[in-house]
């Protein structure tokens, strides 16, 4: 059930200059969140930030009524959210969108690029419950783009690439040596920049490995009314907000 709620800011945890975790307290027990679901967050009204900001749900704590977001500053809205004050109310609409379909008893390759790691810890938890083995591959431009290494490590092996070679293997995620032998993986899950996901999708398709990608198209509403966030699929344009954000890569015409 989608809810519109005023949530209190519990904290803003800075990971570096442009990346932070926003923690909110929900007024009642949070709705059930699945990895891939997102929320539309209202940024205090300024003329420049007119629409809500769609953000993946990073974590949820049902007992302590907490919900959190992993946010990279990409514009005025995400920059203003970082300045949120403790106890301030932030209005959110959630949970929105579909979710990843974690496979049971599989061998998962989970690939995150930049802020694309936002839904992947929840996914890791779901995969663990379903008794899947997990290998993470995290990519960034430089070492400071790689976040939450220790949290991911709790769920499986963590591999890293950076474009400048400052951490892990040098290059893009698809340059990683793991791709020399990926036939042991039963499913690939990925979230990050579109060019990265396209490249991952091509490798997955070429090796006949099922692959889910989570898109982040611009949207005005987040619940299927504006039809702005569409992506082209083999069955016509589909709304990323309601029929996504997670798609089977073979359904997309990109």
């Amino acid at each position: 059930m989608k809810k519109i709620q005023d949530c209190k800011v519990l904290g803003v945890k800075n990971l570096n200059d442009d990346t932070y975790i926003l923690e909110l307290t929900t007024p009642e027990t949070p709705e059930i969140i699945a990895a891939g679901n997102f929320a539309e967050i209202k940024v205090d009204h300024t003329p420049d930030v007119f629409l809500r900001r769609p953000l993946s749900i990073f974590d949820v704590d049902y007992t302590n009524k907490k919900i959190s977001f992993f946010i990279k500053i990409t514009g005025k809205g995400t920059a203003l959210l970082k300045e949120a004050e403790l106890e301030q109310n932030i209005n959110i609409i959630y949970p929105l969108g579909n979710s990843f379909k974690p496979e049971a008893n599989g061998n998962a390759l989970v690939i995150g690029g930049g802020s694309g790691i936002a839904p992947l810890l929840l996914l890791a938890n779901e995969l663990k419950i379903k008794k899947s083995e997990i290998t993470f591959l995290l990519g960034g431009r430089k070492n400071t783009d790689i976040h939450l290494f220790k949290e991911f490590e709790k769920y499986g092996t963590v591999l890293i690439t950076t474009e400048d070679g400052s951490l892990g293997e040098k290059g893009r995620v698809t340059d990683h040596s793991i791709f020399n032998s990926i036939n042991g993986f039963t499913k690939i899950y990925t979230c990050g920049p579109n060019p990265m996901m396209k490249a991952v999708g091509e490798i997955a398709s070429a090796n006949d490995i099922p692959c889910e990608v989570s898109l982040e198209n611009m949207m005005a509403c987040g619940f299927g009314a504006c039809l702005c966030c569409v992506t082209e699929t083999h069955e016509g344009n589909k709304c990323v907000c309601t029929e996504g954000p997670v798609f089977n890569v073979n359904d997309l015409k990109w």
Binding site: N217, C226, L227, C228, N237
Partner: protein, 307 residues
């Protein structure tokens, strides 16, 4: 108990608050948020004769106090609406008003004829003002001869309330309003979006795939209020006003300028509950100023002191 009922030609709205086509889906998208039965009416997403995929992504750009859209009338066609969507949404206790579009006059006629067969639909909104389609749409609404031609043609095949939605992208809105009134429109709705454009200064590329799109949101409200007032003074048919309405006070403003009813548009994206909040806000306003009937506000701007 205040009287919120308003009349637009033969249509009776339980209150003046309706939702604008293209911003409210088919109503169902809002079912989890609000009681749709409380609305005066729902102007559903624009319909065409055949399936339309709309324009390529990106179709939206956020702008100061508003947004540009270039959706381009994505819909599954009139038959899909009649067979698959309408049977569900007809259960709502509110006026369901289809928004009719076409590339040619013949398209408009055919879509209208299909809707005419549905007994419980009491009105259509003829959209001659969509700025985001290559053929038809706004091109019908920016010159008097074509606006008259399409309105007359649809009038001939439609005997219930015919609302014609006007484009603000014209030199003289009153001229077009009088033309469609003369051609048989029972009501005029305005304004559709203002043609606009946005460029990313860093990439030097246009933000919309279509280069131009339609501007909506509070940024357009003063233009809309002005046009409603001008049209109110130029025609006799009732007006349904819209353009950047965010709250009850905006609604009152539109009614004072001459609107008999209003459409809430872009605000639905930011607050899916806004239409209901507006209905409640109008009731409070009427209590505060001791107004018994909301229809007393229509065109009631007080200009006495100015003259």
């Amino acid at each position: 108990m205040v009287d919120l009922k308003v009349k637009v030609h033969e249509l009776e709205f339980k209150n003046p608050v309706t939702t604008a086509s293209g911003t409210f889906g088919f109503g169902e998208e809002f079912e989890e948020f609000i009681d749709l039965n409380r609305l005066g009416g729902i102007f559903v997403k624009g319909l065409t004769l055949h399936n339309r995929e709309g324009n390529p992504y990106p179709r939206m750009a956020e702008t100061p106090s508003g947004m540009l859209n270039a959706v381009g009338l994505q819909n599954k066609g009139i038959d899909y609406f009649i067979n698959n969507i309408y049977p569900r949404i007809k259960e709502y206790d509110t006026e369901i008003i289809p928004n009719v579009n076409g590339s040619t006059v013949e398209d408009y006629i055919e879509v209208t004829e299909r809707i005419n067969e549905i007994e419980d639909i009491n009105a259509i909104e003829l959209n001659i003002s969509c700025p985001n389609v290559k053929e038809g749409g706004m091109s019908f609404g920016i010159s008097c001869p074509s606006a008259i031609a399409v309105t007359e043609a649809v009038r001939e095949v439609y005997d219930k309330t015919l609302i014609v939605k006007l484009s603000p992208n014209v030199t003289d809105i009153c001229e077009i309003a009088k033309a469609v009134e003369g051609a048989g429109a029972d009501s005029i709705s305005l304004i559709n979006t203002l043609l606009g454009m946005a460029i990313d200064p860093h990439t030097r590329k246009p933000i919309l795939s279509t280069l131009t799109g339609g501007l909506s949101g509070p940024a357009v409200k003063p233009v809309a209020i002005r046009m409603v007032w001008q049209v109110y003074n130029a025609v006799k048919v009732p007006i349904i006003g819209m353009g950047g309405i965010m709250n009850a006070e905006d609604t009152i403003e539109f009614m004072l300028a001459g609107s008999s009813a209003i459409q809430v548009g872009t605000a639905n994206f930011i607050d899916p509950e806004v239409s209901i909040k507006i209905i409640d806000g109008i009731t409070s306003y009427m209590g505060k100023y001791k107004i018994d009937s909301v229809s007393d506000l229509i065109g009631a701007m007080d200009v006495e002191e100015l003259y």
